[in-house]
Amino acid sequence: MAAPSTSPSLPPALADAVRDDASLRRFLHGLPGVDQVGVEQRAAGLGTRSIKKAGKMWAIDTAIGMVDLTTLEGADTHGKVRSLAAKARRPDPEHPDVPQVAAVCVYPDMVETAVRELDGTGIDIASVATAFPSGRSSLKVKLEDTAYAVDAGATEIDMVIDRGAFLSGRYGQVFDEIVQVKHACRDAHLKVILETGELATYDNVRRASWLGLLAGGDFIKTSTGKVSPAATLPVTHVMLQAVRDWHTQTGELRGVKPAGGIRTTKDAIKYLVAVHEVAGPEWLTADLFRFGASTLLNDLLMQRRTQLEGHYSGPDYVTVD
C-alpha cells in the first residue's frame, strides 16, 4: 500500500490505520456503526426546518455559489459546454447580482472548451475522470484519464472509487487508487465519488468516506448521478459526520458534495441545514460544500426571483441552457 501523500501530519491512530491492508480493514470495521432508522429520522427531522425571508435569501445565494453546474451526457458538445459556461458566469442575466456558480463539471474532452470559456472568471473547472462513471478500467487508464483532464486545465477532478473492490473488501486497493489519482491531480482538487447508491448501507458509506479522507480526497462526493439512488439526505448526513469527525481528529477541513437528484430549492436548503447543524457553520462555503446539479440552478434562480418580486415565477423567466 502506498503511503498517503497528503496528510503528513496524521495523528498516530490514523497514521496507524493506513500502515497496511490489515490495519486499514481493522480501522474501517472498527468505526461505530450507523443505525439506519436513527440517521433517517434525524435527516427527516432536520428536513422540517422552516427557512424564511432573509435566511432563505442567504441560503439561495449561498447554494447558487456552491453549484457545480454539470453536464455529463454522451451527447455533450462544445456548443452545449459553451452555453453551460455562459450560464455559470451569469446565472440570471437580468439580475447581475446573482453570484457565479462554484464550478462547471464536464467530461475530460470538454475541459479545454470550458477553460477557454471561463478564463479569468474564477469559476473552477471540474472534470470527471477515472473511467467515469463505472470506474471499470485499469489503473493506468484511470491515471491517464486524470492527467488528460488536468493537462487540459481542470482545476478539480471528480474521481470514482472502484466499488467492486470496495464491496469485496479490497480496501487497500481502493486506497492506493485514490492516492495515485491524487498524485496525478497535481494541484487540482480531488473529489472522491463513493457512488453511495451502490454501497447499499450507511455503514459502507461511513467506511468509504473515511477511506476517501485517509487517502487524501479534498472532498467526498456521493454519486455520479448515473445510479439511482443518487444523493440522499441521510447519506449526506453520514458523510458530513465523517468530515466533522475528521476535523475533530486532525484539525483539517475537508468537503462534501452531494450530487444527483437535488432539483429544488427546498431540497437544497435541507442540505444546507444539514451542513449547518451536522458538520457546522464553517462548512457553509463553496470551499467545503458543493452541489452537483444541472437543473437545481434554475429552480434556485426562480425562487430567488420569487423572494425578490413577491410572487411566484415560472420556468419561462429563467434561461434554459
Partner: protein, 475 residues
C-alpha cells in the same frame, strides 16, 4: 453566519377564546369553582380564563356519566361505538393544526412536537381503539368482556391532549363513560377535544371534562360512584390515590414518575446514540415521565460520546414554542422552573460537573437551557430524583452487569434505553431491566399498539395495545 429568520406558526390558528367552560352531559357549562387563568409559559401572558369544577360539579358529571353508561353507551353494540370513536380520530386529524398551536400556546412545547408527535399520536390512539370496540372478544379477556362503568381520570400537563387520548380512547372503546380532569396549567386542548366530541355527536354524558386543580382531581378519584380510576402524574399523588381507594374494590391504574437509564455500550452507533440521548432528555423540555434522564455510558467511549453530545446539544434551538425551528420550548410553569433550578443547584453542591448550552434564551417566559451534568454518582439527588426538565445526569460503567445494576438501582421503573450494535446484548439487557418500556437504539417512541407503563413506583397498569384494554374491562 447563517441566521434562521423567525418562522412562527400563526397563533390565530389556535382559535383561542377568552373563556373556556367545563363540559358536562354534552354541554359546555359554567363550573361553580373559582375560575383559573391559564398562562402561555412562552411569554407569561394570560391566554384565557377557564371555569373550574366545584365538588357539586364533579357529582353532576359523575351522574351524567352514569346515566350515559346505563342508558346508552354501556349497551351500545361495539360496532356502533367504534364509528363514534373513528369520528373523533378523524376530527382530531382535521383540526390537527389548531390543536397543535393551542397545545404549544398552553403548554410551551415546541410546535414541531405538538404538530408532529402529540396531535397525530392522539388521533392514532382514537383510531386504534375505535378498531377494538367491536373486537374485544379477541383481546384475550374472554369471549364477551364487559366494561366497568364510569371511569374517573386525571391527567398531567406534559402531554395534555395526548394523555386525554390515552385515557379516553380505551375507556370508550371498552364501553365505559368518562369524567376526566385535565391539568390545572393546561386545560385548553382537552376542552377543544370536548368540542370535537360534541361535533362527533357522542351521546351526552359519555365524556365529561372538568378543569380544575388538585382538589377537583381528588374529588373525581374519590367519588364513590366512579368504578375505575386512572391517574397519570407524580408518584407522590399516585400513592395518595392508591391509599384513598384501598378497600373500595375500585379498579385503579397509575402511570407515575421515572428516572430512566439510557445505557450506551462501547459498540453503540454513537452518532445515533447521541440523537437518542438528546431525544431522550430534551424532547418536550424533559417533561416526560419516561425521559432518559440518567445516561449510563461505558467508560471506554465516555469521553468521545460526551464531546459529541455537547456539540450536538449546542445546536438545540431554545425559544418561542410557536417557532417551527424551536427544538426546546418553554418550561410549563414558574413552579416547575423553580423546581428544576433547585435540583440543579443540588447537583452543583454535591459536586457534579455542570455544562450548560450557551444558547440564547428569550427575556420573557419560563426557559431553562439544556444542561448536562457529568461526574455524577448514584448517591446524588440529580441521579435519584425526577427533575422533569432538560437536565441530563451522566454516569459511567465498566461492565454490562454494572450497567444493569446501576440502571435498576432506583425505586422507579418506567423505561430504559439500550444502545449497542449487538443484538444479543440488547435482548440480554432488556431482559434484565426492571422497567415497563425498554427502547433499544431508539428512545421515546410511542404507539397505540405498544403497551406503556411502569414497574415499581412508576405505577401499574398499561396503556395501549391489547394489554391496555384490561384497565377498562371488568376482568
Amino acid at each position: 453566519m447563517w441566521e434562521y429568520a423567525p418562522a412562527p406558526e400563526s397563533r390565530d390558528i389556535a382559535n383561542l377564546k377568552p373563556t373556556y367552560r367545563m363540559f358536562v352531559d354534552g354541554q359546555f357549562v359554567e363550573g361553580a369553582g373559582e375560575p383559573l387563568k391559564t398562562v402561555n409559559p412562552g411569554t407569561e401572558e394570560v391566554l384565557a380564563e377557564v371555569s373550574t369544577a366545584a365538588p357539586a360539579d364533579v357529582d353532576k358529571a359523575v351522574k351524567a356519566a352514569r346515566r350515559a353508561y346505563d342508558r346508552v353507551w354501556g349497551k351500545m353494540p361495539g360496532s356502533e361505538r367504534a364509528k363514534y370513536i373513528f369520528r373523533i380520530a378523524r376530527l382530531i386529524q382535521e383540526r390537527g393544526r389548531e390543536l397543535a398551536v393551542l397545545e404549544s400556546l398552553d403548554n410551551g412545547k415546541p410546535i414541531k412536537e405538538s404538530r408532529d408527535v402529540d396531535v397525530p399520536t392522539a388521533a392514532a390512539h382514537f383510531f386504534y381503539h375505535a378498531g377494538w370496540a367491536d373486537k374485544l372478544g379477541y383481546a384475550g379477556y374472554g369471549p364477551d368482556p364487559k366494561p366497568l362503568g364510569v371511569a374517573g381520570q386525571v391527567i398531567p400537563w406534559n402531554f395534555p391532549l395526548l394523555m386525554a387520548a390515552w385515557k379516553i380512547a380505551p375507556a370508550l372503546a371498552c364501553g365505559n363513560t368518562v369524567v376526566l380532569k385535565p391539568a390545572e396549567t393546561t386545560p385548553l386542548t382537552a376542552l377543544v377535544l370536548a368540542e370535537i366530541i360534541q361535533q362527533a355527536d357522542l351521546p351526552p354524558g359519555v365524556v365529561n371534562i372538568l378543569p380544575g386543580a388538585g382538589d377537583v382531581g381528588a374529588a373525581v378519584t374519590s367519588h364513590p360512584d366512579v368504578d375505575k380510576v386512572a391517574f397519570t402524574g407524580s408518584t407522590e399523588v399516585g400513592k395518595l390515590i392508591q391509599r384513598q381507594l384501598a378497600g373500595t374494590g375500585r379498579k385503579l391504574t397509575l402511570e407515575l414518575g421515572g428516572k430512566a437509564a439510557n445505557i450506551v455500550f462501547d459498540d453503540a452507533p454513537l452518532d445515533q446514540a447521541v440523537e437518542g440521548i438528546v431525544n431522550g432528555i430534551f424532547f418536550n423540555q424533559g417533561h416526560v415521565c419516561c425521559a432518559g434522564s440518567r445516561l449510563l455510558v461505558q467508560e471506554s467511549v465516555a469521553e468521545e460520546l460526551l464531546e459529541k453530545l455537547r456539540v450536538r446539544v449546542s445546536t438545540l434551538r431554545v425559544g418561542d414554542p410557536l417557532d417551527k425551528n424551536t427544538d426546546v420550548g418553554a418550561i410549563n410553569s414558574r413552579e416547575q422552573l423553580t423546581k428544576i433550578q433547585q435540583l440543579v443547584e443540588t447537583g452543583d453542591a454535591e459536586g457534579a460537573e455542570r455544562w450548560t448550552s450557551a444558547c440564547p434564551l428569550p427575556d420573557k417566559g419560563f426557559y431553562f437551557a439544556p444542561t448536562v451534568f457529568s461526574n455524577v454518582s448514584q448517591a446524588m439527588r440529580i441521579a435519584r430524583e425526577e427533575i422533569f426538565g432538560p437536565v441530563l445526569s451522566v454516569l459511567t460503567f465498566r461492565t454490562p452487569d454494572e450497567a444493569v445494576a446501576k440502571a435498576n438501582n432506583t425505586p422507579y421503573g418506567l423505561s430504559a434505553g439500550i444502545w449497542t450494535e449487538k443484538g444479543s446484548r440488547i435482548l440480554w439487557a432488556a431482559q434484565k431491566m426492571r422497567a415497563g418500556v425498554v427502547w433499544a437504539n431508539t428512545f421515546n417512541r410511542f404507539d397505540p399498539t405498544a403497551p406503556f407503563g411502569g414497574y415499581q413506583e412508576s405505577g401499574f397498569g398499561r396503556e395501549g395495545g391489547r394489554t391496555g384494554l384490561e384497565a377498562y374491562l371488568d376482568v
